[in-house]
Symmetry: C2
Subunit: 235 residues, 2 copies
DNA sequence: TAACGTAATTAGTATTACAAATAAGCACAT
DNA sequence: ATGTGCTTATTTGTAATACTAATTACGTTA
């Protein structure tokens, strides 16, 4: 759903390169970058392309430019942590256990809340889509089909909240987590183990029972977490 | 804490202008913009400045440029709803009741969760800061002092979660909500009405009681919401 | 010593030229 | 008539250059 980048443009590459340097800490906060002309030359791009990249990095809160002073890396406080790129860079460059925990924590906060909201506000059409996804999960015969249907289930639940802020947050977090492991897919052997959980969530949303939906979803995601902890990362 | 912009740069102005046009719907999704040369001329800026702005808007998921085809406004699905600018534009241009509800819903999801997390993981130093903020609230003699201390309280609680994703989400939502009303400040008469609530939250975090902290905070934010509903907007 | 002005530096803006991608139209062959 | 491949026109992508504006740093002067 969200494209994890495919940098064809030159400034896109520059964004990636500088972004990674900053997130990884090789360019520390407070540190000043070489002046544009020099940096452009050093990266073998024109000043034009470099500047287009720097404007984007500024918008992400990573750098700050001022005349005469030059360009500096900003303190981490100012970084837009929920920006898809920033998150992706952190996942790729600082794959620490604690960061995964933070992502999982966010997921465990929004998903139950989303299930409850969906139970309150879902339209019949949205319920139908959740149902479709659930049935696809039930019918899945291999891990791939399961994973696709599983993601669709959660996306449709989020969508049924009719709160695009929640949808957006979910997709960002989910994408970031996806770089670590295939979500909620346990072992290939019993990959359908969470189907009953999903059914409970679906039923609660169908019956418009917010608190039941919340608790069922909570159980599901905490189960999923312990499962992930048990099996560690994959692929 | 987060700067609501002060656009001195030319491309910054262009970003604002185009961003607003898109968010407001005057430039509808799917619609193509005039080609760069034309648009630049029409906006009385150079193509350089226009392009720098367009790169930023692309990064926000608002537009998409391809050679020969030109630049088009993307579907709202792709907009980065949690981007500070996008949120600010929506607040300014679509001040609908339903959007405020969505923001409030997000707040009511993260704050109790954050209180619980803070109760689990706060350091002594972080607890001290929360205490300071609480005492400043208790000592406040006017609405302004109260509002400042109140914000500091919530910020410090969020910070004590040691999850910068949560902190970032909070600050974005809070800034957006702040454009509508002075948060959780009721009438000037009894502006301290929520002090006992805050104390309960503080105590729970001090005693490391996550569930108590969650419930106390939940009560506080729901109270705050009904209060806001009762009094309507202000300022 | 302090105030003021001047020079030097760096990002900001503009202009121009050309490169690369690609949609659309045309010609050609089947 | 249809589809296939070439050509061309259009639009963004990249580069190079020149100049503007802001601001720091320094040196001069009162």
């Amino acid at each position: 759903m969200v494209k994890p980048i495919a940098v064809r443009n030159l400034h896109g590459q520059v964004i990636q390169e500088l972004g990674r340097l900053i997130i990884s800490g090789e360019l520390a906060p407070g540190e000043g970058l070489p002046r544009e002309e020099l940096l452009a030359e050093r990266m073998n791009v024109s000043r034009t392309a470099l500047r287009e990249a720097m404007k984007v990095l500024s918008a992400k809160g990573l750098i700050e430019s001022r005349q005469k002073t030059g360009t500096r890396v900003r303190e981490t406080i100012h970084w837009h942590q929920l920006d898809a790129d920033v998150l992706a860079w952190r996942c790729a460059l600082m794959p620490t256990e604690s960061f995964v925990e933070k992502l999982v924590e966010m997921r465990e906060i929004i998903e139950p809340a989303a299930a409850a909201a969906a139970a309150r506000r879902r339209t019949p059409e949205q319920l139908e889509k959740i149902k479709d996804a659930y049935e696809a999960m039930a019918a899945a015969e291999d891990l791939d089909a399961w994973a696709i249907a599983d993601l669709a289930f959660h996306e449709n639940v989020l969508h049924a909240t009719n709160n695009e802020l929640m949808t957006s947050l979910f997709s960002v977090i989910e994408t970031a987590l996806g770089t670590y492991f295939v979500l909620s897919a346990s072992t290939a052997a019993n990959f359908k183990y969470s189907l009953p959980h999903h059914q409970k969530v679906f039923d609660a949303i169908r019956r418009r029972q917010p608190e039941v939906a919340r608790k069922s979803m909570l159980k599901m995601v905490t189960d999923s977490r312990t499962n992930i902890r048990r099996h560690g990362r994959k692929a």
